[in-house]
Symmetry: C2
Subunit: 231 residues, 2 copies
């Protein structure tokens, strides 16, 4: 005999709400309810007795119908809201039309990280001449693998005319060439970020590059300039 028959819960209106969704609790356990259906427990791979949709006694059936209707409609609105945001993300990310939700999110994460990095690099390098004086010198390239040994120096201080030409003279005295320079002034302050390398650095090997010009030498030079022009 392979047929099942049973009686369902009764309602005054005679309607049956046949839920079937499994009703697993938020923390993972199954909810215990009082009645009468078989449902697949995917964790155990078995069919188990599961709860039906059980409106409390004393609540009218139509009340439950409208509640259920409101519920599912609210859920539908929620889904629509989320999916709308997914769509706007889809045409915000360059090539992400017709892209999977998961991969779209991954792409968004990548773009966010990238944009955040470049944005703060831009701010760091140029945008804000801060109110606090600052001299910073650090190696950029290591001189290995044929890469030139680059030094990045940033200077933030009050702006004084002639500072830049003096800086250039000082760098010439150190036989350094400016590979790249960025400068910003705002409200009497200036921030200057330069990338310097030894002239004809291609003929060096890495030992010479790292020994003959130390970052501390450049650092002292910049500090001296800084002191002079802050007087």
């Amino acid at each position: 005999m392979d047929q099942f028959s049973w009686s369902s819960n009764s309602y005054s209106s005679g309607f049956l709400i046949n839920s079937g969704c499994q009703g697993k609790t938020r923390n993972g356990s199954f909810s215990s309810s009082s009645s009468s259906s078989l449902v697949l427990d995917t964790e155990r791979g078995e069919l188990v007795e599961a709860a039906m949709n059980l409106p409390r006694k004393g609540v009218s059936a139509e009340r439950n119908v409208v509640a259920l209707k409101n519920h599912s409609e609210a859920e539908r609105r929620r889904r629509a809201r989320i999916n709308g945001h997914f769509d706007t993300l889809r045409d915000l990310v360059p090539g992400a039309k017709k892209m999977d939700k998961a991969t779209l999110l991954a792409e968004v994460i990548g773009h966010m990280r990238e944009l955040k990095k470049t944005a703060e690099e831009a701010c760091d390098g140029i945008l804000i001449p801060t109110d606090t004086d600052e001299v910073r010198v650090e190696k950029q390239g290591d001189g290995m693998d044929g890469n030139p040994c680059l030094i990045r120096a940033s200077l933030c201080c009050d702006y004084k005319p002639g500072l830049l030409s003096d800086l250039r003279r000082a760098l010439d005295a150190l036989h350094l060439i400016i590979v790249k320079a960025e400068m910003a002034t705002c409200e009497g302050r200036m921030k200057n970020v330069i990338l310097v390398a030894k002239a004809s650095c291609k003929e060096w090997d890495s030992k010479e590059a790292s020994s003959s010009i130390s970052t501390s030498t450049l650092d002292q030079t910049l500090r001296l300039l800084d002191m002079i022009y802050l007087l």
Copy 2:
């Protein structure tokens, strides 16, 4: 009599699969299947006869059990993937711990737009001294509402020493003050973006501001400088 009883579909194993989810078709219509359950149609607000989970005849029940199990597990993995991305987004966006999925996505969209704008502004203003010469002058503020009438001028050309001091002299002759300046040099090229305003501009009204110094005057000045130093 308010009880229902019926016989379910039969399987050789004697197992019953009780689906209950409504099974609406992707394009909105309901799928027609062959059997025996009442389900809430939220669009009509009625209870309608709905499909049961119907494995085709001739397919063994355990085969369906494992298929269903695989299905729900795959869906769970998919959800986990998406939610994992949601979590990384949550701690990528500054204050978005414990934030709603929808509002989180909205926040992400806002940050993406913001970051994208600032990133391209940074590139536009400073980062790339392009290979093509360029002179551009445009009004920044409109001089209304007490805001000073600001003019943004950008100049991209070969770098020549002394260009900046000449530029300053030219601006002084026009009685303009540099509110903000950004300059970048790279490989013998330079890009210079300045924001200028009329000295003591606060005493102006908007008509004077817009008439006494036109953007074209500044444009001509910059072009002249450009011509001189490109010689």
